[in-house]
């Protein structure tokens, strides 16, 4: 069976856990697929992996779907739990998956300290720019102007640039992609898994249910297509003027790439 093929990655899922609970059009399912393909193509067997996640829709990406050891913890604390497990058993390939609210708001302190420690682990932030599970409130990555359940007139607070945040904190592999860019994302995930330090990937993953409807972003397919025009590869971004980059998301391997 070809590693990374549909039939091959099916074996990495717990059948009893299917179907996933994600809404139609949610980007988290595409991200789960990308993670499974990267793992299937990696040199490590699934038994070596430990998936740690917090609370939120993104926390359900690995738990209970992936047929490996999974640790589904309290909201925002996944990195702390992952640190303990990894220190005790350095053989474990530790993958932390969380939403933007989980990793960057309630878990923000753990994020910067885990990056600073540069302990070997792969951290994937499924950024849908909202608290999906609790009904679409504003998060620290919601764009200025976006309407959410708690910013009905539009968000006035500036969002975090998560990649620059973890880079400044000391992460040694940092990348950003979207669920539209699956090939690039899978390649980046493979490199993150092989990286001998703290590897962080921000993955833009649309939430049609909570964010799309409020902001008239159209159908789930429209939201995916919008990611294509919104994202600018790093090489192209370098040629662009700052005003041209307003509202764009720079994608690529931002730190530690090839």
């Amino acid at each position: 069976m070809k590693p990374g093929s549909n039939a091959s990655i099916r074996r990495l899922l717990r059948n009893e856990a299917l179907p996933t609970p994600f809404c139609p059009g949610c980007g988290h399912g595409i991200l789960l697929g990308a993670i499974l393909r990267a793992i299937d193509e990696s040199p490590w067997p699934l038994e070596r992996y430990l998936f740690v996640s917090g609370i939120g829709c993104a926390g359900w990406i690995p738990s209970p779907h992936i047929a490996a050891d999974t640790l589904h913890v309290t909201h925002g604390r996944a990195l702390a739990f992952a640190t303990g497990a990894r220190l005790v058993n350095p053989e474990l390939k530790v993958v932390v998956i969380g939403g933007d609210g989980d990793l960057a708001s309630i878990g923000g302190n753990h994020l910067i300290h885990a990056a600073r420690r540069n302990l070997e682990m792969t951290v994937i932030c499924a950024n849908n720019e909202t608290y999906g599970m609790t009904g679409g409130q504003v998060t620290p990555t919601t764009p200025v102007g976006a309407r959410t359940a708690t910013t009905p007139q539009g968000n006035t607070e500036r969002p975090f640039d998560l990649c620059r945040l973890v880079e400044a904190a000391g992460a040694t592999y940092v990348a950003r992609y979207s669920v539209w860019h699956t090939r690039l994302l899978i390649r980046s995930l493979r490199r993150a898994l092989a990286h001998p330090g703290f590897a962080f990937i921000e993955v833009l993953s649309p939430c049609p249910t909570q964010a799309g409807r409020r902001n008239r972003q159209g159908s789930p397919a429209d939201m995916l297509r919008a990611l294509r025009t919104q994202c600018v590869p790093l090489t192209r971004a370098r040629q662009m003027r700052p005003e041209e980059l307003v509202g764009k998301m720079v994608i690529g391997e931002l730190v530690g790439g090839e």
Binding site: H72, R77, F81, G84, A85
Partner: protein
């Protein structure tokens, strides 16, 4: 001397709880230590392989001592985390990776740990949390003793559960009760809280190091439901190939989330409560002083450092011909109801002495409604003279 580092690698793959003997790490015989240091040494002797913490008075000495000692011993991991939330979180991750884990703090940090204490309870994660109590609430008085966290330990996490809390009264017990805390945590798969206080933590006195340490060892048997079936199910470790599903959401015996099943919620809570309640006699340790001969005029009940003053007051009162005894509670949770009922039965008066506003008194009053309290919450210890005066004054009444 057989070192723990090698012994612990022999995983217990059997289905039944098993007690093992470990050689002590400190040379056997008399030693002279500070309470906090003795706690750290007790953890080392019990086979603690992972420690995470955050500095706080009056518990920092535990972390500093562990840090120094772990560096000399094989197979032990120390880390200072960014806060107490992360400290207990990393301990739980470490415990599931197969380690015996401990963290130590004081009131303000213990409050931060309550969120993940609840997680440890619902996931049945063995873990030792030391709370060297200081005067509160909030920052309060960092260097002054108190016993104000008794109810926080019992009910601080939300929801329904049972846990274990021990109250050491001496440097000897900071060593031996820390060992017992690890053993109970492994035996019942439950977080165990060592409720020390500043006075015991900073006390320096001699203690005896026994040549061997006997502790329960975790069952790591795979292929069985890790969250049900048995009263205390086996707990395999990550990396063992068990595809463990560990979640803080309500789950079934295999760890599958069951967030809207009434029966899964009821079954889980019932077992979490029963596995501790059913073993009150095994878990609870009380020590009675001068309670044997005939009905007492006054029975003092005390725990932690306060019990030292109480014992002294009892000796003084008996010297004056009064029939007075002491019941010392070395276990606070589950509450040793049976022992308290047995010893209070014949006593004319029952007085509970503690450095809080009656947290254990109320528990005793459930058994003896007329029990009286003697309390101090000014950050000072209760002195023997005060208790003697209380004994005599109440006797005259």
């Amino acid at each position: 001397m057989a070192r723990l580092g090698t012994q612990r690698r022999v995983a217990n793959m059997s289905a039944t709880p098993e007690i093992i003997s470990l050689s002590s790490v400190l040379p056997p015989g008399p030693a002279f230590l500070q309470g906090d240091e003795a706690c750290a040494e007790g953890a080392i002797a019990a086979g603690c392989t992972f420690y995470a913490g955050y500095p706080i008075t009056p518990a920092s000495e535990i972390m500093e001592h562990i840090c120094r000692r772990f560096a000399e011993l094989p197979g032990r991991v120390f880390i200072q985390m960014e806060d107490e939330i992360a400290s207990i979180g990393s301990c739980i991750g470490a415990s599931w990776a197969g380690a015996l884990a401990m963290t130590a703090t004081s009131g303000p940090g213990f409050t931060l740990m309550l969120e993940n204490l609840g997680y440890a309870l619902i996931t049945e994660t063995p873990l030792v949390i030391v709370d060297v109590q200081r005067a509160g609430p909030s920052t309060g008085q960092a260097t002054r003793p108190a016993q104000g966290d008794v109810m926080q330990a019992r009910f601080g996490a939300h929801g329904d559960y049972e846990l274990i809390a021990l109250a050491p009264w001496s440097v000897q017990e900071m060593y031996s009760e820390t060992i017992r805390a690890f053993s109970l945590a492994e035996r019942f798969r439950v977080p165990v809280i060592l409720l020390a206080d500043e006075a015991v933590g900073h006390l320096r006195e001699s203690l005896m190091i026994e040549p061997t340490v006997r502790v329960y060892r975790r069952r790591r048997l795979g292929g069985r439901p890790p969250f049900g079936d048995a009263e205390v199910p086996p707990m395999p470790a990550f990396g063992q190939g068990e595809k463990l599903l560990v979640t803080g959401s309500t789950h079934d015996a295999w760890g599958f989330r069951r967030t809207s099943s009434a029966s899964a919620q009821a079954t889980l809570v019932e077992r979490l409560v029963r596995k501790v309640q059913a073993h009150e006699d095994e878990i609870c340790r009380t020590v009675a002083y001068h309670c044997e001969e005939g009905p007492l005029d006054v029975l003092l009940i005390a725990y932690g450092f306060t019990a030292r003053s109480a014992l002294r007051a009892v000796a003084m009162a008996r010297g004056r011909g009064r029939r007075v005894g002491l019941l010392r509670l070395a276990t606070l949770w589950p509450f040793p109801s049976r022992e308290v009922a047995r010893h209070t039965a014949g006593a004319r008066r029952v007085i509970v002495a503690e450095m809080n506003r009656g947290q254990v008194l109320r528990e005793v009053q459930r058994i003896v409604p007329a029990a009286e309290g003697y309390q101090r919450t000014d950050g000072e210890i209760i002195e023997p003279d005060e208790l003697l005066a209380v004994i005599e004054e109440r006797e005259r009444r």
